[in-house]
Symmetry: C2
Subunit: 440 residues, 2 copies
């Protein structure tokens, strides 16, 4: 009887281990894809690509490589030695090469080039292959690090992870930007946010989080919008102020920068990322931020109740110039611009106990305190012409008692794009969905 | 200028810390929901519910509690002392009570009862409140632990997390069980699995994983099916055999049981879970497993190419009785029952290099090796009457070279249900979607 015991014997050494120098002078076998091949007359340089970097292999018997091309999967046997001119400072003197698989044709794009310089549309169409390029690959390693830091931070703060449905019977954010689908003959929607569900779960677990896709059928095509994106959501009970939510986000960002510095250094360096200081993040009230930016940059305020993208950029610029921070919490958004579940400020109900986080002048987070009392929630819905009876299962939690609570949603792609200095959020989404793009 | 510095000062002590006994004899304030209230004539027992358990509080001044009911959010100040009859062995002598919020009406279900004994439909309709009950809550803490173990295991094995689109232009699994939606006037689908995308990412990261929703428009209503579920997917390159994938899954299960034993002990105990031994998992070939179960239980084989649910149960029973394992890998599924990307066994192409994991007689995982060579993949598609030109972006990776690779998908809800001994997978999904249920 065959059994599987969970013992994972690596036949080969990892590329990371070889580059770290551990195996210097010993014969090892390393697997990877051939990222680049250069014949220098008698000597062939093979750049082997592994999951976390590349290893330079040099062969003095070109015959061994006669049969291979870039993007062959191979196992290289050889002896690593120090070589300051090689990436990572280690080179492998190749002795043998085993071919594991080969491509069927030429690559659609020369991925071993330092910069691909493709136009956005071509790049996105070729993404399945473009992502093998080192720069592009590093973007999504940074993204994976941000996710890890988010979960690790929340886990350390006793948050419980939840998985809530994406096919829903009603939208949380209202408005027309919602995808519809046929659900066995009934009308259904794709969730714009896990808002209702994460609030429901606060009654059970006090603190919850979810990292999952959300869907917005927005009909405008900008460098800031995606029609499907990954939302990092949290919701927490027993808050005494919405500033506690901002404190949790700040803690997450601190942990994220530490994690990237420690465990993703090669990617940070490859992308030329300057990890921002997040030891403290300044806060400006919505009206105050608008005025400061308008005065400094001479741009009149057109709508006192909304922030235009250019105003966000100016607030970001103001905070950078005056306070030396790339982040700013803008607080107390106008009630009419926030959803029906936002708690109004008792001191001035035209505004809400809410915030956005701007990162280099772009909103990457929206959050705030929610209404927890049934009567107050029903009244706010009625005042907006909504029908509380359509939200029976949501209001069940308010009726059954809810602690004061609030939360936030972070757009993972925007956060990644801002951090990596990418000018279009599509660059920070593996396979973006926009008005015209549904493939790959 | 106000700033937020990420320092999270707890005004109160966590319930977990009080129950652990750390604060014995000192005056503390603990926040939570009032789970139960019992007036014993002069003495009132208040069960306070926190995120990870309950704390018994006793008040000898009933007047303090005159105004409160179950599911009020409160902050209780008092002195903890040992009391063997209290849950967790610690009781708090209550001195003060601050009311933070109150419910607007009676609860739709008495959640402090040990067993709710609701019928499934009522329970699911009342889920937003039912999940406050301790047993129901524990199920999803176990589920969160399984997710954590999955990610931690894969992270330790150098897997990279990816986020792939759920709105897609073609289904990965084929067939009719796919949800359609209108995407700005174009036909689109909800992803049945991240299959194509995780394979694409193997070319970039070698090893990838994703935990995300998948959607299946299956029109049958059983205790095993959900129309939306959470799939824990992984895909890895440079495998020499599909047994390496089974070894990774076994390692995950080992880590999961360890994590649940160490960090989720209260939930494991509350649900009466016997954590299975996963030190090694037996493997049976598909045809062998069918025959053994048919012979032992006298049930004739009706379809040699498929496993009926009853056959899966019998195989599970056979393995338990004969080999003492609740898990079994069934390998080498017939080619005609596996998708077009499954690699056929070179030794007998009627079968594939694939497996399912059965847990107590139910499939919880499907996995296997994939075709990595372009020509072989195109030929298999053509042999099935498919049109390779419709899969251009997928086949781009085969054309551009792919290492030998394979992976698996684990149904998180099924795994949770099997582990917790739940007879319907809906019990292991926070807000299940089925033929008739779209709400809450």
């Amino acid at each position: 009887m065959k059994t599987i015991d969970g013992i994972l014997t690596r036949r080969t050494v990892t590329l990371k281990a070889v580059v770290s120098g551990t195996w210097e002078g010993r014969t090892v076998t390393v697997e990877g894809m051939i990222h680049a091949l250069r014949d220098m007359g008698g000597m062939v340089f093979l750049t082997l690509r592994g999951p976390e970097g590349v290893l330079q292999c040099v062969f003095d018997r070109p015959a061994l490589l006669e049969d291979v091309t870039e993007e062959c999967a191979v196992a290289v046997t050889g002896v690593p030695h120090r070589e300051p001119r090689a990436p990572g400072g280690v080179e492998l003197a190749g002795l043998e090469l085993e071919l594991l698989s080969r491509p069927a044709g030429p690559l659609p794009v020369p991925i071993s080039k330092r910069r691909l310089n493709l136009n956005l549309d071509t790049e996105l169409s070729l993404r399945p292959v473009v992502l093998r390029a080192l720069r592009e690959r590093s973007i999504f390693r940074i993204q994976a690090g941000l996710c890890r830091a988010f979960r690790d931070t929340l886990h350390s703060l006793d948050f419980t992870e939840v998985h809530t449905p994406k096919i829903v019977h009603a939208g949380a954010e209202g408005g027309s930007n919602i995808f519809r689908l046929d659900y066995f003959g009934r009308k259904a929607f794709l969730a714009q946010s896990p808002q209702f569900y994460k609030q429901m779960m606060v009654g059970a677990y006090e603190r919850v989080f979810e990292v999952a896709p959300v869907f917005r059928a927005e009909k405008h095509s900008t460098a800031r919008h995606l029609n499907e994106y990954t939302s990092m959501d949290l919701e927490m009970g027993f808050i005494r102020s919405f500033e506690e939510i901002m404190a949790v986000e700040t803690r997450f960002l601190q942990n994220a920068m530490d994690l990237l510095r420690e465990e993703y250094a090669a990617d940070v360096e490859r992308l030329g990322i300057e990890l921002p200081d997040v030891s403290s993040i300044p806060c400006l009230r919505f009206d105050e931020a608008k005025t400061l930016a308008a005065e400094k940059y001479g741009r009149p305020i057109r709508d006192p109740y909304d922030l235009e993208p250019e105003e966000e950029l100016n607030i970001g610029r103001y905070v950078k110039e005056e306070l030396g921070s790339v982040f700013v919490f803008v607080t107390h958004y106008p009630s009419k611009k926030r959803p029906f579940y936002a708690m109004d400020d008792p001191a001035d109900p035209r505004f809400t106990l809410s915030f956005d986080l701007l990162f280099r002048g772009m909103e990457v987070t929206t959050g705030g305190q929610r209404i927890h009392e049934y009567q107050a929630q029903v009244e706010k819905m009625l005042a907006r012409g909504m029908h509380p009876e359509e939200f029976e299962s949501y209001l069940m939690i308010h009726k059954s008692g809810m602690p004061p609570h609030g939360g936030l949603g972070i757009g993972l792609e925007r956060l990644t794009a801002r951090l990596c200095g990418l000018d279009n959020v599509r660059h920070a989404c593996l396979f973006p969905r926009d008005l015209s793009r549904l493939e790959p």
